[in-house]
């Protein structure tokens, strides 16, 4: 997922970041119809767009990772977070986590595991495989809000780092090309910040 696609950033001349509140698109995976209804409500209340599916296989299908469609619909999907139950028939949440982390297209998407069982080795195994967090069921609104904050602040960090590195790059170019000796920030204003971040992230995803 390209970072720039979620965050809309304004970078005024002073260089401070103002982040407008984005709407996360969350893919929720659970074989229980009751739990799907509840997690959907929790996420909607937290101002997220929600897509629910009933299995790991369906989740992979939705993402285009099941081999059938390929990843042609990548740009349209823009899933920002995957929340999945652990115990599901067929692909478990752990299996799904692994498949996502193995995929070059989707490994950046944070994955949160939910489980009704507080089994430490299971939790460790998931975190080790790259899960962002592990939630104990029944999931509460406070859990969802916390996860959302975590995801948003991770992305803000990433954007900030991108933006700063862009700024440095532009300043270096400026030094090279300009004959004058002034190095003020006004050169940063010339290119819209969202375009810079987008092109930077496009460069990154082409390397993946």
């Amino acid at each position: 997922m390209a970072v720039g696609e979620v965050m809309r950033m304004e970078v005024p001349a002073g260089g401070d970041l103002t982040v407008t509140s984005p709407e996360l698109h969350v893919l929720a995976v659970d074989d229980s119809i009751v739990d799907r209804k509840v997690i959907e409500r929790l996420l909607r209340i937290s101002s997220c767009k929600v897509t629910t599916v009933e299995s790991g296989a369906r989740a992979l299908q939705y993402l285009g990772l099941d081999g059938d469609k390929g990843v042609s619909n990548l740009k349209d999907l823009k899933v920002n977070l995957i929340v999945t139950d652990y115990s599901m028939p067929g692909l478990t949440g752990y299996d799904l986590l692994k498949k996502i982390k193995e995929s070059s297209a989707f490994r950046e998407i944070p994955v949160v595991i939910m489980s009704s069982e507080n089994i430490l080795p299971r939790i460790e195994q998931c975190l080790k495989e790259g899960a962002e967090d592990f939630l104990l069921k029944p999931v509460k609104l406070a859990d969802v809000k916390r996860i959302k904050q975590l995801i948003l602040s991770n992305e803000a960090e990433e954007c900030k780092n991108l933006s700063h590195s862009n700024k440095r790059k532009l300043e270096e170019e400026d030094i090279d090309s300009s004959s004058s000796s002034s190095h003020d920030d006004s050169s940063v204003k010339d290119i819209p910040s969202s375009k810079r971040i987008k092109s930077e992230s496009e460069n990154r995803s082409s390397l993946l």
Binding site: D35, V38, K137, P138
Partner: protein
């Protein structure tokens, strides 16, 4: 009318039919979604009826496939937990203990109790939603 609703709800909690998870779900209701909990309850009873049916059939066959029974009960316990159905949840836990111990008679006994609790809860919640 409001007072009656409050009393019904209080007794459901006092008697241990519901736990705080039910209250958490009620917190998720608002003017735009005033029937959320009733909708969840409807889904729960529809889904659990299916599970009860599956378990009934499995037990009737006489072959005690404890793994399969445990798997059904895991689902049942999960959704009961999500709605705050406390007594039903307790029976599910006990059933699973008997499964793990390979105790067929214990399973049968507990399942009868579970069905009773489930039916009672259904009636009480119907009454509660009608009143509110």
């Amino acid at each position: 009318m409001q007072r009656q609703v409050a009393l019904i709800k209080q007794s459901l909690f006092d008697q241990g039919y519901l736990d705080e998870q039910f209250m958490e779900l009620e917190e998720l209701q608002d003017d735009a979604n005033p029937n959320f909990v009733e909708e969840v309850a409807a889904l729960y009873f529809k889904d659990s009826a299916r599970l009860i049916n599956n378990i009934d059939q499995a037990l009737e066959r006489g072959s005690f496939d404890f793994n399969r029974l445990d798997s059904y009960m895991h689902q049942f316990k999960g959704s009961s937990t999500s709605i705050g159905a406390s007594k039903v949840k307790t029976e599910c836990t006990m059933f699973r203990e008997y499964c793990r111990a390979g105790n067929a008679e214990g399973c049968l006994r507990t399942f009868q109790q579970l069905k009773k609790e489930h039916a009672t809860l259904r009636k009480k919640l119907e009454h509660y939603f009608q009143a509110s």
